[in-house]
Assembly symmetry: C2
Homo-oligomer: 115 residues x 2
């Protein structure tokens, strides 16, 4: 396979790749997105499903996901007010990227670790 | 678009995605891979091309890329001995992943920043 056309990144390509990595960076965003993949959830539900995350961290990560328009936060007109979180349409565009990352991660682990 | 099948990650999926992110993490691996995409290079050549990287950092990043079998280091039998770096065949498998990351990064920047 011609190695030359492997990483056809250029300056703007590198910035775009870094953008993608920054949005998904850290230990918590993927498990949170996975939890919300099953549907709209309350804060405590997500907190229970994402093992080991503190409420402070979950709140920060949800804000970042909201800022990146991957998660939508809805305050319901109840008393006391209830807050719900769900994935946005923009989050749907992550699928191809996450599939490619998962596939390469599995291939790489096989190459390096042999299983 | 059905949001439910957006992020079909499960535990092993999340680990594989994290593996991919860990291998490419940081500010330097992508520019180093891009530099080596043009062919075999000496340490100083890479150092000149990857703006702002210290020799200590370049040495560390090259070791990590070598450990992940993405870069091959060759010591030439000359006096003094010369050292060369090149991408491996395994690095060729990065192409689809980096394309997907670049495409999503561009799409995301367009969505968030509008350009």
């Amino acid at each position: 396979m011609e190695k030359r056309n492997i990483v056809k990144c250029h300056a703007s390509g590198i910035r775009a790749v870094k953008d993608a990595m920054d949005v998904l960076s850290g230990n918590w965003k993927l498990p949170i997105l996975t939890s919300l993949y099953e549907g709209t959830k309350r804060f405590k539900q997500i907190s229970r499903e994402v093992e080991g995350i503190s409420d402070k961290m979950l709140s920060k990560e949800l804000k970042e996901l909201e800022m990146n328009q991957l998660v939508k936060r809805t305050v319901l007109d109840t008393f006391p007010p209830k807050v719900e979180y769900e994935l946005t349409e923009h989050a749907a565009t992550l699928e191809k990227l996450l599939d490619a990352m998962r596939d390469w991660g599995l291939l790489h682990r096989q190459k390096i670790v042999g299983k």
